[in-house]
Amino acid sequence: MSALMTLLAPILGGFVYGFERVLRARMQRRQGPPMLQPFYDMFKLMEKRTIIIHALHVVLGVLHFFLLWVTVGAIFFGWNLLYVIFLHLFSLIVLVMAGYSVRSVYSHLGANRELLAMVAYEPVLLLVAVGFFLQSGSFEITAILQDSSHLMQMPLLFIALLMIIPIKVKKSPFDVVEAHQEIVGGVEVEYSGIFYEFLYMARFLEYLFIYSFVFLFGGDSSILGGFLVLIVFFLINLVDNATARVRTADMMKIVYFGAISISVINLVWMVI
């Protein structure tokens, strides 16, 4: 089952992304693309003529995708949560290196913002993991999922997680990493054709990665977990439709003074 899920992860993510595009269009009173649009895009990208800047850039981008896939797979297989978070960090670092490896200003700015965003959300993810650890006594995802729902004990951590989800799924108000109007997509700007596809699919995997954290809050009740994911997914899209993009510095401030402090409060509360 886990193996199958892992194999199908990009497809699963594709559905999520496709659904989200339709949802967003409807929220803006547009008709929007068909549900399967992400797959159309993928198939189209497959047979574009490929233009690259240099080989290193491409290799790093592809590596990013596969590492992310491994990360998502690791979640499905129920590995150690801390290790999963660090694997995810690894995949992002590879992406950042890819972004820096070309002499393109937007790619550089994007990579830089990617690093800053990482500085913002990584602590929160780790603190959430620590919260789970305090609850269930283990960092293993399988163990976390055997406990009853964690929502009651760590509500503030849940809110902190909610605050960083927009960074990960690149949604307003924290879509500074992609910021199409400013830096034309950031890191992905120099990719084209099939190699862009890897980055495009990596975005699907990011969805799975971050929403599975939400799922973990459900504990042993997968229905509650699924429900939480749905609610959060919906909420994130609503917020996306109600906010503008904030500056990177503002984002850092909000995450550090908001998300991290409430996570710490929650942790202290759990400990005492």
Binding site: R29, V105, L109, P173, V184, V246, T248, A249
Partner: protein, 361 residues
């Protein structure tokens, strides 16, 4: 220990509708120096107006200087030529022209607002404003037969009349639009993320506005009370309920508010115009050939549009000098960019509502 990065913005960039190139010299995304290249759209219209096209056709050519304020361009040119010919239009023509200019102002301002929200990363707002804007576009299409390039004003009058059904439609659409603008005004002032992005960002102070000769909504947002509609006697603006609108803070937010309130004012004016439309011919034959030198100022959506036309009884004019509002806005814009973040640059740029095709002609 800071190093500078040069960030290009344009000539092709997703946040730009038109080719303009900025070269921002930044420290950690903070802009310290700006270079601009505005000449991408230079087509040579001034020369063509006096050498390739006869004076009767020039109205259609200058309209193509800019698609957004086409109507004000052809209006200014027409006014200038009419004055050279010693002709003064009747009240109905004046009212119809005013109606079209104000409608154009509404749609231009709405586009600008949509663009500002888009460049601030607020896609939903962009979509909403663009959807609402279709109401005005429909009116314009119904009046002139085309959505953007109206070619409505001709020498000696206007090309089409307003029928009673049209009057009804205009009423209906404008009534629908007004609450939406009110709603927008509320959202622009109360949304948390927008106030982070707009308030106190890209400030043009009153002194700077004087020094750099800012004009239009830009100047009015800084508290500089200038508006050609109040400074020229070509049109009876006071009769249709015009009032000057200004703010004082001079940031993006103030510019947005000036635009929004001007839209409300324009809606009022349009309604007054169609309610009190005088009777008369819509086009009259004008005889003779232009002679002499004359200047005309008209308030375009972006500010003051200036035409100087010189003719000497020939088929071709001696000189058509066009000075567009954005042309004056660029020095002020460059000043405002300095010291702000690169992340804000697209929004600031859009809030100035630059029109490069106007600038470069």
């Amino acid at each position: 220990m800071k190093k500078v990065v040069n960030i290009p913005l344009g000539s092709q960039h997703i946040s730009l509708l038109e080719p303009i190139r900025f070269q921002f010299t930044t420290e950690n995304e903070k802009i310290i120096e700006v270079g601009a290249d505005v000449g991408f759209v230079h087509r040579g219209i001034e020369k063509a107006c006096s050498e390739t096209f006869e004076w009767k056709k020039v109205g259609y050519v200058v309209a193509r200087v800019c698609g957004l304020c086409a109507i004000t361009h052809s209006l200014s040119y027409t006014l200038a030529v009419e004055r050279l010919l010693g002709y003064e239009a009747n009240e109905r023509i004046k009212y119809l022209r005013m109606l079209m200019v104000e409608l154009d102002r509404i749609h231009s301002h709405m586009l600008c607002l949509a663009h500002v929200s888009e460049n601030a990363g607020f896609e939903a707002m962009f979509m909403q404003i663009m959807a609402d804007r279709e109401l005005v576009m429909d009116i314009q299409e119904a009046i002139s037969g085309n959505r953007v390039q109206f070619d409505y004003i001709a020498i000696g009058g206007v090309n089409r009349d307003v029928t009673p059904e049209l009057v009804n439609m205009i009423h209906k659409n404008l009534d629908e639009l007004r609450p939406k603008i009110d709603d927008l005004m509320e959202r622009f002032s109360n949304n948390w993320s927008l106030s982070l992005k707009y308030k106190g960002v890209g400030v043009l102070t009153l002194d700077e506005a004087y020094i750099y000769n800012a004009l239009g909504p830009l100047a009015r947002a800084s508290g500089l009370k200038t508006d050609v509609r109040a400074e020229s006697s070509d049109f009876p603006y006071e009769d249709v309920g015009y009032e000057m609108i200004f703010e004082s803070s001079g940031d993006i937010y103030a510019r947005n508010m000036v635009r929004l309130r001007e839209i409300i004012n324009s809606i009022t004016m349009c309604e007054n115009i169609i309610d009190n439309l005088p009777t008369g011919e819509i086009i009259e034959k004008v005889k003779g050939k232009p002679e002499g030198e004359v200047v005309v100022r008209v308030e375009a959506p972006r500010g003051e549009l200036f035409y100087l036309v010189k003719g000497s009884r020939k088929n071709f004019l001696d000189r058509v000098r066009i000075k567009t509002p954005t042309f004056s806005a660029i020095p002020a814009m460059m000043e405002v960019f300095k010291g702000s973040e690169y992340a804000d640059a697209p929004a600031i740029l859009a809030s100035f509502d630059p029109c490069m095709s106007c600038t470069a002609k």
